[in-house]
Every structure is written in structure tokens, then in C-alpha cells.
Symmetry: C2
Amino acid sequence: MVVIFVIITYDVDVKRVSKVHKILKKYLIWSQNSVFEGEITEGKLKQCLGEIREIIHPKFDSLYLYQISNPKNLQKVVYGQEKAYESMFL
Amino acid sequence: MVVIFVIITYDVDVKRVSKVHKILKKYLIWSQNSVFEGEITEGKLKQCLGEIREIIHPKFDSLYLYQISNPKNLQKVVYGQEKAYESMFL
């Protein structure tokens, strides 16, 4: 089972923001605004992206997936406030 | 000279969004919404963060820096539209 670290950022039409957010929330941790992150297996990621693809409009929406093969290679530094999940408005 | 790949996401008060955006634009490539990315030397990154720290309010603003030590460990996949820099509204 291969676990990777991913960062997903999205910019989708306001009509679809909530749906995309809900799918990502099932698989990853909300980071900030339209950014999610977390460790995930390749299988779960495939499943997540399958759900996303059913929602987003390829012409108007945009989703970027950053995959880091080894989480040891990633360092996260927070400047200012670390926003808690509870501060999420959705 | 050590070059690293960084992803920077920010969530700052609307009064400071434009200033933060302008600083990041000098050093990195705008990706989407409040997300910047790119390869950068450690020295330039330090300089960039120094400028940012002068602008952001530690109690109300938030900036996340993801550092990937070896860009080879990172893979970026785009779903939907790849937003061009020109589509930026600022």
C-alpha cells in the first residue's frame, strides 16, 4: 500500500465549491481557503479524484494536485495563525 | 546554492491581500487563487519571507509554506483548466 502526501488546491465555479469541498473533506484535511492536504493511499486518491471529476466542469473549473512521493521530503511552516478546521465557513 | 521547491498559500485580511500577492509575485509563480509555487533559492526565500512578515498580521493572517527539498519528489497534475497568469484579477 503506497501512501503519498498530497496538496490539492481548487478554483471552481461558486455553484460547485461546496460539493468539491465536501468530497475533499472525506479524504483529506482542510488547510486553508481552497486548499486541502494530507497523507493518502494511491487507491483512495484515485477514488477521490473519480468523485471530483464527476463534479468539476473541465472548461470552467480547475484543480491542482501536488503529489509528494515521500512525506519526509516535505516541510510545512506556518506564519501567523494556524487556522483551525472549526474556523471553516462551509 | 540550494534550490528548493515551495508552495505558498495564504489567507490574509482583504486589506493586505494585494500587498502579499505583490511580494510573492516577485519571487514565485502564481498558481491559483491565493496559491503561489516555484523553485527558489534558500536566500531568496528568506528575503521573501522577511518582506511578508513585515506585512502580515500574526493574529489575523495566515501563511503556509510547503517546502519540498528535492523537486524530483514532486509531481503536479492539473484537472480541468490550467489558469493562465493573465486571468489573475489583481
